[in-house]
């Protein structure tokens, strides 16, 4: 039966002081990373939560590289009438409000909560400089074409009950429904 043994093993091994402090040899660091990756994938790939049908983590909707602004489901074309459903889970025991941030390709999107009410959102352009320094190398490593680089971060505020879920729906809008960020560039002389 599927379980989380690989993840448990990987985390147990990573308690070693070398892993905690980052003082291990390179091949050991590689081994830690590989074990964590195996454990993460085993725990995520629908093996443990087969009874959840609609919102399972299958190959089409997983998004483990959100931290480098790469998320295929959120970058999908929403102009064909489809909507992106985001389920937000709060693992803490108190109600939280926090900003959700996902990369999107189009500026013409709107965000609604589970009642269908539109909520305030904000678009932030992905600046070339920040994307370049962070993502070019990783994207090349992953074989991701530069042509699919998203143009914006879509941000909105999510409120989630203790140990609970909230659902938000992102869909295309006829016009830019979100409040676009104003961008101001200040240039200063460098100090010596």
């Amino acid at each position: 039966r599927p379980n989380t043994d690989s993840l448990a093993d990987a985390l147990a091994i990573a308690q070693h002081h070398d892993a905690v402090s980052g003082t291990e040899k390179q091949h050991v660091a590689d081994d830690y990373a590989k074990r964590l990756s195996i454990g993460y994938n085993e725990s995520r790939d629908q093996k443990l939560a087969a009874i959840v049908h609609q919102l399972s983590f299958n190959r089409q909707i997983k998004c483990p590289l959100l931290n480098i602004s790469y998320c295929p489901p959120s970058e999908a074309d929403l102009s064909n009438g489809k909507s992106l459903v985001i389920v937000v889970y709060n693992s803490l025991g108190w109600k939280r409000e926090d900003i959700i941030k996902i990369p999107v390709v189009s500026a013409n999107v709107t965000v609604r909560d589970f009642t269908g009410k539109e909520i305030e959102s904000q678009l932030l352009p992905l600046l070339n400089a920040s994307v370049g320094i962070r993502n070019d190398h990783v994207r090349a490593y992953l074989g991701i074409s530069p042509s699919v680089t998203p143009s914006y971060w879509l941000t909105f505020s999510a409120t989630v009950p203790p140990l609970g879920f909230s659902t938000y729906i992102v869909s295309s809008a006829t016009q830019t429904a979100t409040s676009s960020a104003r961008r101001t560039v200040y240039k200063s002389e460098a100090s010596q």
Binding site: A29, S83, T115, A140, S157, K187
Partner: protein
Amino acid sequence: NDTIEVGPGNLKLIYSGNKGKLTQYFNSRSSVKESIEQSFSYYAGDDGSVDKQADGAYIFRPNGTYPIQSEGQDHLTVLRGPLLDEVHQRINSWIYQVTRVYKEKEHAEIEFTVGPIPIGDGIGKEIVTKITTSMETNKTFYTDSNGRDFIERIRDYRKDWDLQVNQPVAGNYYPINLGIYAKDNNTEMSVLVDRSVGGSSIVDGQLELMVHRRLLHDDDRGVEEPLNETVCIQDVCKGLTITGKYYLRLDPLGEGAKWRRSFGQEIYSPFLLAFTEQEGDTWTSS
């Protein structure tokens, strides 16, 4: 007026328009107002040629500290909106920083991207970011103990023995897993981190975090290789580029602990997102 105010909510960060630098932190709710600076610098790694002890993975043995100046024109890009404001700063070709101030939050979020650290000059480097205020912290600061209690640290002093200071920087460095803070008679300055880093307060009123390092010598303590990790794509190897966030908040004296505890948990357990798609408006509430 030569100043740039950032932040849609109670917290305002003031930047100098001339220099493109952070100059002031102001919270209109708590009335905390503090002059503040933020900068990057690096410690040069000792090569061990003098006392046989090189700077390495285990041993922090700096050989001088050097400020990192912005290269050429310092670009400050400000993005404003109803939920948050962002300040983008390209410090140089290998340091990029985004500062975010949220409408509903009373802390600043600073996201740093550092690397690959250049080593063409043959010098290993340990990169730190420093937050400097005029607070009179009297050699005292506090660091977490593996995410648990914050423990008092006094610069150049140990409670249990007479400390002979041979390493004025390394001897005062501590592991930071949750955060670091310092206080004076009026204010607490807290910094929480989203990953383990090194940290200290080498100067009163200043907190620093070591965010990245790349060294060229083995410290001869068992790891048997320099801390010089690279990633190679098609036989082209580069030093690592790292990214991370830290969170800065100033409170009236005695009011910072609640934020350090509750928000510290939220950093450790961020929202978990799952995605799926639906056709049209067929979603039923759940």
